[in-house]
């Protein structure tokens, strides 16, 4: 499979595989992210999707939004189902029961179905070297069931199961670093992306598609409904997440870290956090804590991405 270099709007793939008529919330950046990624993956793709926003908005029996072969089994097993599909296609091809075709299996799950309940299945599929791509569409909570927290929910965020109160700051733990966990499995390609930077996302989708082994895309999916922002602001907040360093855009190719967007200058995290209803209970002290943490994370990432010669 060969890809054209993506330079402008006119060179992005034309065909749509996620069709309109779905029931996503107004302003949802998650379906946008998937729509873009699928344009790259193209027709020769089989999708295993976990229970979640994307699955529910798209497949109320007897209708479907997907113009690709698609299966939903359960919440925590997208990677395991994908692993089985890949094995099935492989053996059927080996036995000449289906003709040889470069088909990519794609597992898609939210942050819940990835970093929490789906972590085991993902780790297993990665460890087995399954030749598939896993896309985590991260809206930072179990949004489909009504905004409950996940391990991907950022520190201090209000969710219904991490509500702020006299005895609680909201989410009391820091966002689990899923790309790092995936990279620790020594897979060919890992990347973070955000649809607010569509060409960066499309290019990374290309690399993920071409990986000779497992690949992983972690896509920040701004959720106006769950983050309590106006529904037309998803793109702007996605940009702020990146420009404040809260969601760095980078890739890990065969263990080598490469930052694909360096904010210059960095915007303060408050630019990103203060407009979101889910953070409105936070104090200046809390914001400082978050700023310090983001700075430290960025420093770690810079260190990993720096050119270093081993002596």
């Amino acid at each position: 499979m060969k890809f054209k270099k993506l330079e402008s709007y006119s060179t992005q793939p034309y065909e749509e595989f996620a069709t309109s008529g779905h029931r996503a919330c107004q302003g949802c950046a998650e379906i946008l992210a998937l729509r873009l990624a699928l344009k790259v993956f193209g027709k020769d793709t089989v999708i295993a999707m976990a229970t979640g926003c994307m699955e529910i908005i798209s497949t109320p029996l007897p209708t479907t939004s997907w113009k690709l072969p698609w299966i939903h089994v359960a919440f925590e097993n997208a990677a395991a189902v994908a692993s089985g599909i890949e094995a099935g296609i492989r053996i059927l091809t080996d036995k000449n029961k289906i003709y040889k075709k470069d088909i990519r299996v794609l597992a898609i799950a939210g942050d819940g179905g990835t970093s929490d309940i789906g972590l085991q299945a993902l780790s297993g599929a990665l460890e087995r070297g399954c030749k598939f791509t896993y896309i985590c569409v991260d809206n930072e909570a179990y949004m489909n069931t009504g905004i409950q927290r996940s391990s991907s929910t950022p520190y201090g965020a209000m969710t219904t199961t991490s509500p702020p109160g006299k005895k609680s700051i909201g989410q009391a733990t820091w966002k689990k670093n899923m790309p790092k966990i995936v990279a620790a499995h020594n897979v060919p390609y890992v990347a973070t992306a955000c649809p607010s930077y569509p060409f960066d996302l499309l290019q990374k989708a290309q690399k993920a598609r071409l990986a000779d082994g497992p690949s992983y895309l972690h896509i920040l999916s701004v959720c106006p409904t769950g983050w309590r922002i106006p529904s037309h602001e998803a793109i702007r907040y996605g940009k702020l997440a990146v420009q404040t360093g809260m969601f760095p855009l980078y890739e890990v190719e065969n263990g080598k870290y490469n930052i694909t967007y360096r904010p210059e200058p960095f915007k303060p995290v408050t630019d990103y956090l203060k407009g979101q209803g889910r953070f409105r209970h936070l104090s200046d002290e809390d914001f400082k804590k978050i700023q310090d943490h983001a700075d430290a994370e960025w420093a770690d990432l810079s260190y990993l991405a720096a050119d270093r010669k081993m002596t």
């Binding site: 295993a48 109320p60 029996l61 097993n77 189902v81 692993s83 089985g84 085991q120 297993g124």
Partner: protein, 394 residues
Amino acid sequence: MIEKKGIEVSIAASEAAKLARVEVIAAYPITPQTHIVEHLAEIVANGELDAVYLNVESEHSALSACCGSSAAGARTFTSTSAQGMELMHEILFIASGLRLPIVMAAVNRALSSPLSIWGDHSDVMAARDTGWIMLFCENGQEVVDSIIMAFKIAEDRRVLLPVMVNLDGFSLSHVIEPIEFPEQSAVDAFLPSYNPVYTLHPDKPVTMGAYAMPELYTEAKYAQEMAIINSKAVVAEVFEDFGKRFGRNYNIIETYNIDEADSVLIALGSINENIKTAIDELKAEGKEMGLVQLRLFRPFPSEELFAALKDKKRIAVVERAMPGGSINGPLYNEISSLLYSHGMKAQLENYITGLGGRDVLIDDIKWLYDKTTSSSARGVTPPGKNYTVIGVRA
């Protein structure tokens, strides 16, 4: 003349899967199923079986991967026991709901807690309403034949449902028995390549596993229920076809000494071998006891059971799972429902034995023939309950 081979039943089960030319195996080891998956791994590794063996990281992922591979159109096999079956429990319903013809060798084992690696039927009973077709095997030959037949049943376009082949942990899985293996060419003639109706392939995209609003869910489940009820006819056809080709004739239910006896036992699995021995010994003493064994447990063979039991005076259901607070054990509850719905008047008794690998003694079965309703040293009837647990130690 095909020779019989002395072979451990677990290994024989894997050889049956090999004869069935399974294409994807996704399974996680658990005692007492381990020899099945180990042998399958071996024959895939040495090229004897042209299949993909997925070293999944849990039983939940095992059955999930099976759903993926079966949906992609590959003939798919797995195996598990007890805790493993419980871990994959939600996927059992999904596999049948998605109409995927996966075959599982279920090596029946007691459920924790307390932890037990030994055999009983608590695992399969906990899964009995998951929409899987279920066969029970008495001996190793039946295990081999049932696994081969299971694929033919499952993949039949009138069925398209997963099939569970049940064999007792240790007492059947780990014994060495003389087994006749059919020739590969004969199996190929009986069981052609899997030809799916729909697969996950880019040339013809389909959506599998949509969600159903209240307006549609009932109808979807009704259609599925009709599918499993109607599958019994296909099971009977496959049994007949197998009998013609391989000379071993299987029936939906098997009966033993049923014409002579007014007292009949009902049981599942390898315990039936002990029961038949007890029946023979009783016969020598001038006592007639009969046996009805359910080869097919799901769909529940009401017509066949009614025909066999309708004139019987006394029926004793012998089973290997505790009621868990129910009025009776699971098999009894279904037989009782059968009797009531068909206006049958037999005296119905419930015996629970062989839990957690405890041996079922021939003497205990013979004791059932003479048993009165009062408790004795052989069995304990819990106060207010109408079942007896055999052999409870005081």
